[in-house]
Symmetry: C2
Subunit: 490 residues, 2 copies
């Protein structure tokens, strides 16, 4: 045993050393993969044996050198998946009556989750793939619990799981970590979407499943989101995507550098949005004609012929590199969390036009911090765009507050990426993180709120009060009887 | 502004560099100083200008090279302070009836706090010293909020404050950080002592004062204490005192190394306890005669003549160095938090005899983890001591569980000392840590629990229900009348 202790000593005094652990990565497609990819890359660099598990319809593993790919066949086509995704993006620019909007969105989310449920079934019932995965003997599963397949797989393989996420709808992340979250000052994440719970019966079991997460790597940061209670197994890695900027291409560098003291604006609505309505495009272009700044705009829809000279249209733009440029004056964005972190990292104030998902929430936070102004996507006019841009550019408080946010956001004892790697390896070293699991997981609702204790106390107090009252009554009656007797005697 | 941003960039990309900040340290005497001293030393090493403020009756600054001392005169003598401290230590070995015990303890705590209140007044009304402190222009105050003088001083000087502590009585630390703490699974710290609140009227203002702490450096660690909700400005630095062991003196090394495979026991009841009753000393010695282990015992009281050969009595012993020795088999301790962390750091299971303060709580935690056995200080017999020692030595589960605790406790992304330095410097860099302050501080009790919202909702529901009922009644009556009329007509 002494030797055991000594070995443990040796082992843990060389922390951070390569362990060569077996890591199973179960990713979620789309923007969710953007920052998880960074962690996966770093795990590979540090010598871990990483297996990326994905359906044949995606190609997330492409370009990931040193990573093994395990691809499973699914019963839907790439086109079907594409259609479902396209549906989610459609109509973000069109204002529908609230009820129609809710109905349409729920229907689309059902379509989206259904196709993934199908894919997960295809995986779990594929005995060949599952057999291979079982034989691997993984040390840890790294997954985004936004879709439950990774959690189910970890449970099936009995491997500790590390979650990597921005948040879960319906407070599932708070339930999963047993984190208190007083609604009086903790804004409800996705609260506008609580009606999108399409499978309440499945949700209940997912609740129990998601509680088993050993470590929750949260893309959360108090420079962006508001301070709130945390649980010991919640690790904040917000800003993990703020990579060191690469140099711009020569023609882009020439364009933005030529903007002089007025600087330039970075304009993108994210990869999920394809086509902006023509009249909205014109409203923006008309506004851009009237400002001294240059504009780099990621735009993939139809364009009028008279695009002004100070606007450069691109099918894709290096967002992080552009924001890092010293002449970047303003970030015109839809308010996705990745873009927001990049804006904060480089201290660029924002004009925001939220479209869907967590974007309206994100935008609210940034407006509350005084670093952004919002444009309503259903009410875009040249005047409104102009007003928003001029406000943020001319009122220096936006820039100053953004620089303050940047300074606290950048000030880490450990960089988010290193922290994410550390905790993933921690779970490998200790086969989980049981010492961080609160006893609250073992309590039901009544026990958690101490209602059983309170009821017992109330019962005791009431019994004593009742007995006391009875005693008083009894004594009182005795006295009365005696007085009456005395009176009689007299 | 661009320049400002760029400078901020430059500044925060050289994190951890020496800042040369002005740090005012307001320490608390006794064991509280043991670990804070480590942080103060490290701040000096990193080039900060540290001023240690203390009353003339203590000499904490002695031996701290590179630190300026600001000593203020007080209206009590060193002897008076000594007496008050001695009183606190007295009678820990004598069992008094509960009520007498509580009364005596409250009286002693009043004496203890009174003398410190006097000292604090002596400081705050000393215009010369206060004038000098004001002129210094400190960047940060580092203090232990166990006594409120440091907090009051920080408030007076309008300097952000970093707290360094193990915990505060009456849940003051939870109030100060606005940290939720469900009583159903978070054990109440010091709960046995909630009757020691001697100055409730002062406490109320202290509550508000203590909330202003920018960062709370907590000697808390989930290998030792149970996982519970945390707030973003609570930084866990438990185990900060686990220094690298120094080599033992030649004669001590010879003694413990000669213990062979049986190993040796480290026995100390801490620096607060001076004299053990003679019969208790004999009970321990008789037990030690019957075990194969050697014992190194810190003992300052009266000794019988026949101390067995396997026992080495010392007036002071290098606890951390001894526990780090590979032949250390068992730690016989009173359960002070410093000793516990050292035991965990070196993976040595314990036999514990709690005396006062937080020790009974600490011991409960260790027993619950299966790494310690407890002895009742009021019921010490040779048999009980023997039984406890043999249980921990022979049942290998104690050692195994302790090695597990050790492995998670040692596995830090950042070492506790570096973390404490980082956050102290963070407060200097950002003039506080406002972005970590939850909005809960601005809410009253009713708002925090959303009772106002709930009341409004209840009122609306009840109004609707009432109106609905009235409508039904009205319609019902109309119908009845009609039916009655019809009947009449018929």
């Amino acid at each position: 045993i002494k030797l055991l202790g000594f070995l443990a000593w040796l082992c843990f005094s060389t922390l951070g050393a390569t362990l060569g652990a077996k890591v199973l990565v179960v990713p979620v497609d789309g923007s969710h993969w953007l920052s998880m990819k960074l962690l996966v890359k770093e795990l590979i660099v540090r010598g871990h044996d990483v297996v990326l598990l994905e359906p044949e319809t995606t190609a997330l593993g492409k370009g990931l050198v040193g990573c093994r790919n395990e691809i499973y066949p699914v019963s839907y086509t790439k086109e079907e998946l594409g259609n479902v995704l396209k549906q989610l993006q459609e109509n973000v620019f069109i204002k529908l009556p609230k009820i129609t909007d809710a109905y349409v969105n729920v229907q689309r989310l059902i379509d989206y989750t259904s196709i993934h449920v199908k894919g997960c079934e295809n995986l779990l019932y594929n005995q060949e793939v599952m057999g291979r995965l079982r034989l691997e003997g993984f040390d840890v599963v790294l997954t985004d619990p936004f879709l439950p397949c990774g959690s189910i797989l970890a449970e099936t393989l009995s491997v500790p799981v590390v979650y990597f996420l921005r948040g879960l709808p319906c407070g599932l992340d708070e339930i999963g970590t047993q984190c208190p979250s007083p609604p009086s000052y903790v804004p409800r994440f996705y609260s506008g979407h609580s009606d999108t719970m399409t499978f309440p019966q499945r949700d209940i079991s997912y609740k129990d499943l998601v509680r088993r997460g050993a470590i929750w790597l949260l893309r959360y940061d108090f420079a962006f989101l508001f301070p709130k209670p945390m649980m010991p197994n919640m690790v904040l890695i917000g800003g993990i995507n703020c990579a060191k900027p690469s140099p711009l291409s020569a023609h882009l560098e020439e364009f933005v550098d030529g903007s002089g003291d007025d600087g330039f604006i970075v304009f993108t609505l994210g990869s999920m949005v394809d086509k902006m309505p023509a009249d909205m495009t014109i409203a923006f272009l008309d506004a851009f004609k009237k400002i001294p700044q240059r504009v780099v705009w990621r735009h993939t829809g139809i364009l009028p012929e008279d695009v002004p000279e100070n606007v450069k249209i691109m099918k894709w733009l290096p967002q992080n590199d552009l924001l890092a440029h010293p002449k970047a004056k303003l970030f015109l964005t839809h308010g996705g969390s990745h873009g927001i972190y990049e804006g904060i990292c480089h201290g660029v104030p924002m004009v925001m036009m939220p479209l869907f998902g967590d974007q309206p929430d994100n935008v609210d936070y940034m407006v509350a911090r005084g670093v952004a102004v919002v444009i309503d996507v259903f009410d875009v006019t040249t005047e409104k765009v102009l007003e928003a841009i001029n406000k943020v550019v001319n009122d220096t408080s936006y820039k100053e507050k953004m620089v303050n946010l940047m300074s606290v956001h950048q000030d880490h004892a450990v960089k988010p990426l290193d922290l994410a790697v550390f905790w993933t390896e921690f779970v490998v070293r200790h086969q989980g993180a049981d010492h961080l699991r609160p006893a609250a997981h073992n309590l039901n609702w009544i026990q958690y709120h101490s209602l059983d204790t309170l009821c017992l106390l109330a019962a005791i107090v009431m019994t004593i009060a009742f007995l006391g009252l009875k005693c008083c009554c009894f004594c009182g009656r005795k006295c009365c009887v005696r007085v009456a007797k005395k009176k009689k005697v007299l």
